[in-house]
């Protein structure tokens, strides 16, 4: 698993911070790209931040009422190290299993 942090983006021209109003996801949640993550309030307005990517939420930063500076961590996603192709899965290396045993004695002559 790799962790991908998402810092608080600049939500308007020159804003330096935002206040967390409500987290819309919790640690451990699987979120999709574009899914609302958190409602924050800036000096201009309250906005919902959409998720920039799909992944599992590893950590969130800031309780409701707390202020986060632009560029500081807001949320960390957990994504698998091995990314599947556009379709299909990443095959798991399975231990060698068998039912058949070789019983033949090779003819050595």
């Amino acid at each position: 698993m790799a962790e991908i942090p998402f810092p608080l983006p600049d939500l308007g021209e020159g804003l330096i911070e935002a206040t967390v109003l409500e987290w819309l996801v919790a640690e451990g949640d699987q979120v999709e790209r574009n899914q609302p993550l958190v409602e924050v309030e800036t000096t201009k307005s309250a906005v919902e931040l959409p998720s920039p990517q799909a992944g599992r939420v590893a950590r969130t930063y800031g309780e409701p009422g707390e202020t986060i500076n632009v560029g500081e961590p807001l949320i960390v996603f957990e994504v698998p190290d091995n990314t599947a192709g556009i379709v299909g899965t990443v095959p798991q290396e399975a231990p060698a299993r068998r039912r058949v045993r070789l019983t033949a004695v090779p003819d050595e002559d």
Partner: protein
């Protein structure tokens, strides 16, 4: 693309660019210090994805005629990330996305080769090589012949191949026999990151069309790559010696055969595993040398049995080793059925038990 020379390429420009690139490449190559504790040179543990990506990057750096083209190979970096970062590094003239048309990609590659380039097209999945078969078979494979050798086709078609990833239909096919049957095509399939790295670099340098079949189920497994030690680039390779029976395999089946060899050893049977690598031309002498030692052979492939490459391998062995063979050459293959949906993949791809049965049959065989 707009700056790319169209039609006739000013070859002197290309050669000048080649010299420049070669100088740069030489400088780049001289920089990493040889590993002090390893006399064989550098070693890195890479996935096959990463090894292929590196081979392409080095090829693009060293060969100014090389161009990578295909669906989603640019910004996305390919549906399996094999071309990841290449467009960023080499520009959209060298690494470019095409519209969604495989016949178009291959036909374009033929034209690019006529214009002096070394195209490296990608078809996203084996099953999507079918729409390109017309251009591959009727054009790419015979342009050198048609032009009496004046228009060679140094095209390397990369095809993520074979099954094992539970993908939708046409994302898990084994086309090697189809391609190997076509005069004018060469076909190769690497089994490990090391082989993938060296064989891809080599394939691009081959002046003929090479179908490069990447075993997609092995993309993620890591292995040691020795960039400075390619070893022989032609022919088959013994990847595990043994004296009782030779298992002949390629692509993803090599790893499975190595598992089988390990299990067979528990039963006192020493299995030699021969990675065929080149499916055309097939290394007939390499096959004969191995079977001369073991006197028994089983070919393992994912593709269907009938008219599969196993038949060709069996014929080559029989022609050369008829007198020493202790049993007819065995074949353990996929069935003569369309590649099944993911739930049935493991029933279709030769599994450990079926390969062990195949070994048992040739061991038990007695003449008369």
């Amino acid at each position: 693309m707009s700056e790319q020379p169209s039609g006739a390429v000013a070859s002197s420009d290309l050669e000048a660019a080649a010299r420049n690139t070669e100088q740069t490449a030489a400088q780049e190559q001289s920089s990493p210090a040889p590993s002090p504790e390893d006399g064989a040179g550098r070693m890195e543990n890479l996935s096959m994805q990463a090894a292929l990506n590196r081979a392409l990057a080095e090829t693009l750096a060293e060969d100014p005629r090389a161009v990578v083209l295909g669906e989603d190979v640019g910004r996305l970096g390919g549906v399996f990330r094999i071309t990841d970062g290449l467009q960023e590094r080499f520009g959209a003239d060298r690494v470019f996305d095409t519209p969604l048309a495989e016949s178009g990609i291959l036909g374009m590659s033929v034209g690019l080769a006529m214009a002096g380039f070394h195209p490296i097209p990608e078809v996203q999945f084996d099953g999507f090589a079918y729409p390109a078969v017309n251009q591959i078979v009727t054009q790419l494979a015979r342009m050198n012949y048609r032009s009496r050798g004046t228009m060679p086709m140094p095209v390397t078609l990369r095809v993520p191949s074979f099954g094992g990833i539970r993908a939708p239909e046409h994302h898990g096919e084994s086309l090697e026999a189809l391609f190997a049957h076509v005069p004018g095509l060469k076909v190769v399939s690497p089994s490990s990151p090391h082989e993938a790295y060296h064989l891809l670099k080599h394939a691009v340098a081959v002046p003929d069309p090479v179908i490069f079949m990447e075993p997609k189920s092995r993309y993620w497994q890591k292995g040691d790559v020795f960039p400075d030690d390619a070893g022989p680039l032609q022919g088959a390779k013994v990847v595990r010696p043994g004296r009782h029976v030779t298992l002949v395999a390629w692509g993803a089946m090599v790893a499975r055969c190595l598992q089988v060899a390990e299990l067979a050893a528990e039963d006192g049977i020493e299995v030699e595993v021969l990675d065929l690598r080149w499916l055309k031309p097939i290394d007939a002498e390499g096959l004969a040398a191995s079977v001369a030692r073991t006197r028994r052979a089983v070919v393992v492939h994912e593709a269907p049995l009938t008219s599969g490459l196993g038949a060709e391998v069996a014929a080559l062995i029989t022609e050369r080793c008829f007198d020493t063979l202790r049993a007819p050459v065995g074949r353990v293959t996929g069935f003569d059925v369309p590649y099944p949906s993911g739930d049935l993949e493991d029933e279709y791809i030769p599994n450990i038990d079926r390969i062990l049965f195949g070994i048992q049959r040739v061991l038990e065989y007695r003449r008369g």
